[in-house]
């Protein structure tokens, strides 16, 4: 079924919000005001949004160290996220998690994760809970081409098949496992065939094309929500920044980033498709751009002004009971 204008506007707004959130962070991190390692999602927006636009608050996602995009796409409050990254007391996780550990269970975002490969088995657990609930909920494990080589991820895929769980392993192939090429580190070079070998539905699409991701997910989600077991989706995407902010990226080829920005930008692709298929007036998208810029500006201003935690706060939340 074609997307409604409202759906199109919303999807574009989500992608643009992620893009500008990350572009702004790239600048703010360079000032030294933000603590911690930050891994930007810029370039991969069509994946998070193409998947999460299908999900309800009570569907679960489990994210990665590159998690800002998943958080925004799943509905985390953008200002709360910015405050969290700035380490503020009223950040989404009271400043305790930071960029790599943003979570909000109220929107089904079970957490970004600083450990590569830790997420997929957690998503299996959420899948068990989803199945027991019986309402057709799903659990999504976002992983990269790096995490796909972790033993934890293999265990998770096999367990999801054995238990026939509504879990979707979304592999974002941005072609770099941290600083090492995925063509080198993924032995079979084909994550989809490997996932199929576990005995699950395994599909792939262009992760820089929102419409391709969205359409594929329609089909895969139908499979999972109907109780037919887990699935794997490999999405070919691009990382516009380094592994972390400050990464000199000496492993990239000459002109690579410029070429990716020119030819593999999912926002440009969205606009091109919208224009070619006459889906929506581009002026509407321009208006969204302006609104998003305001939102990000406001988030940064609020985050900077927000109170910092007190030292005593650190002793809270280690245990449920003391």
């Amino acid at each position: 079924m074609p997307l409604s204008k409202d759906q199109l506007r919303r999807a574009y707004r989500q992608m643009k919000t992620i893009r500008e959130f990350e572009e702004r962070l790239h600048l703010e991190i360079a000032t030294g005001d933000i603590a911690g390692f930050t891994h930007l999602y810029c370039g991969q927006e069509a994946v998070a949004v193409g998947v999460c636009e299908h999900l309800a608050n009570d569907d679960f996602i489990v994210s990665t160290h590159r998690g800002h995009g998943h958080c925004i796409a799943k509905g985390c409050d953008v200002v709360g996220m910015m405050k969290e990254i700035y380490g503020r007391r009223d950040g989404l996780c009271k400043g305790k998690g930071g960029s790599m550990h943003i979570a909000d269970v109220n929107v089904g975002m079970l957490g970004a994760n600083g450990i590569v490969g830790a997420g997929a088995p957690l998503a299996v657990g959420a899948g068990v809970a989803a199945r027991m609930d019986g309402a057709g909920k799903v659990s999504i494990a976002f992983s990269g081409d790096g995490a796909c080589n972790q033993g934890t991820t293999f265990e998770a895929m096999n367990m999801a098949v054995v238990l026939k769980l509504p879990v979707i392993f979304v592999y974002e192939n941005n072609h770099y496992s941290e600083h090492t090429g995925a063509d080198y580190a993924v032995g079979s070079k084909d994550m989809t065939k490997r996932a199929a070998g576990f005995g699950m539905l395994a599909r792939k699409a262009d992760g820089c094309d929102f419409f391709a991701v969205y359409d594929l997910m329609t089909e895969v989600l139908q499979h999972c929500r109907s109780g037919a077991g887990p699935a794997s989706v490999e999405l070919d995407t691009e990382r516009f920044f380094g592994h972390f902010e400050g990464d000199p990226q000496r492993y990239r080829g000459p002109g690579e980033l410029e070429r990716l920005r020119e030819t593999r930008d999912c926002l440009k692709n969205f606009r091109a498709t919208a224009k070619a298929r006459k889906l929506i007036d581009l002026a509407e998208l321009d208006a969204i751009d302006a609104q998003v810029m305001q939102l990000i500006e406001s988030a940064v201003t609020q985050a900077r002004a927000a109170p910092v935690p007190q030292a005593a706060d650190v002793f809270e939340d280690v245990y449920v009971t003391y």
């Binding site: 603590a35 911690g36 390692f37 380490g87 503020r88 007391r89 950040g91 009271k94 400043g95 305790k96 998690g97 930071g98 960029s99 790599m100 550990h101 994760n113 600083g114 450990i115 590569v116 490969g117 790096g146 995490a147 080589n149 972790q150 033993g151 934890t152 496992s177 941290e178 600083h179 090492t180 080198y184 580190a185 993924v186 032995g187 000496r250 492993y251 910092v308 935690p309 030292a311 706060d313 650190v314 002793f315 280690v318």
Partner: protein, 338 residues
């Protein structure tokens, strides 16, 4: 004498061992083509080849397990775990295999594996890039645990670890990679080139595991520490004008009990300091041991300075980090007790 920071010193140690011993093989994530996230293995794959410096997929459990298999079969693997916080997928392999191989085969097998891993906080890394898990491994019988505090020791200890027939977990306090750090993040960074321990010979030498370093001799009290806290504690004592004897353990297993106890018997007062959390931390072992050996010489209860008993937080780094203020409190308590 050449000047090196800790990264260059570790690189030199591995370069020398790759050259001297054809059984030495490096392995880890991003260590070869890329040269390591901290540049510790920069240039080594280019110089020694892809078969001596292996780029592995992101798979810590697999890296450590493979290193054990290599070690049993005549190689001397030096595995890098990119951050100590990533070591836990390999924990079973370390505890159940690496530490016990020799014992359960009555000496038939051994695995001379060195696992290098950057550890510790003070670089605003948050909870998965700042931990100090060395104490956990001191509780595992059958692995040695070492942590250098300066470039000279780092090179000599890494060579000693690679040559050691026992497995060694080699923790590198990453806050000290580029210079000594006294716990004050607001001071300009001090490079190793201004410090005597930044003078590092180009060639082969070893610094044995199991021999503590008396960083500063003194008579008022003994500070037993290692890693980054060596500099933090020494600076706090100096600021108070105390004549402290500062002992850098260099290795926790084996532990230089003689140096510790000789010092505490002399001074009668002791502060134990580490970055790792306090409860069941390695400091607890030190305190127990010192009271067993030196009880009748003690003039005051031994004080511990440690990380707080919480996960490493994102936003409170300098409240959490056991800086000079917390050391000072402990020093005062020890000195003021009758």
């Amino acid at each position: 004498m050449p000047q090196m920071n800790m990264i260059q010193a570790l690189n030199s140690a591995m370069d020398i061992m790759l050259t001297r011993d054809p059984s030495v093989v490096l392995m880890g994530e991003d260590i070869g083509y890329f040269g390591g996230v901290f540049r510790t293995t920069e240039g080594l794959q280019r110089k020694h080849g892809e078969h001596r410096v292996l780029d592995t997929p992101i798979a810590e459990g697999g890296i450590i397990a493979a290193a054990i298999g290599m070690g049993v079969n005549g190689l001397r693997p030096v595995a890098e775990i990119q951050f100590a916080d990533y070591i836990y997928p390999g924990f079973d392999q370390i505890v159940s295999e690496l530490a016990r191989l020799r014992f359960r085969t009555a000496g038939d097998f051994f695995a001379p594996v060195t696992i290098r891993t950057p550890c510790g906080g003070g670089i605003r890394g948050g909870q998965t890039h700042s931990q100090s898990p060395e104490g956990i491994f001191t509780h595992v019988c059958g692995v040695k645990v070492a942590m250098p505090s300066n470039p000279y020791d780092a090179k000599g200890m890494l060579i000693a670890s690679i040559e050691d027939d026992d497995p060694v977990l080699f923790f590198e306090p990453k806050r000290l990679y580029n210079g000594p750090f006294d716990g004050d993040p607001n001071k300009p960074a001090v490079p190793w080139s201004t410090h005597p321990k930044g003078e590092v010979p180009d060639g082969y030498y070893t610094v044995p595991l199991g021999k503590a370093d008396i960083v500063r001799p003194g008579n008022d009290l003994t500070i037993v520490t290692y890693g980054t806290m060596t500099f933090v504690a020494a600076a706090a004592a100096a600021a108070m004008g105390l004549d402290a004897e500062v002992i850098d353990l260099r290795s926790m297993v084996p532990l230089d009990v003689d140096t510790i106890c000789t010092s505490v018997k002399k001074t009668g007062r002791c502060v134990v300091a580490h970055e790792a959390t306090r409860f069941s931390g390695f400091g607890a072992e030190l305190v127990a041991l010192i009271q067993e050996e030196c009880f009748w010489n003690l003039e005051a209860p031994i004080q511990r300075v440690a990380g707080w008993d919480t996960p490493y937080p994102h936003a409170f780094e300098w409240e959490y980090f056991p800086g000079q203020a917390r050391v000072t409190t402990a020093l005062k308590a020890v000195m003021e007790s009758a």
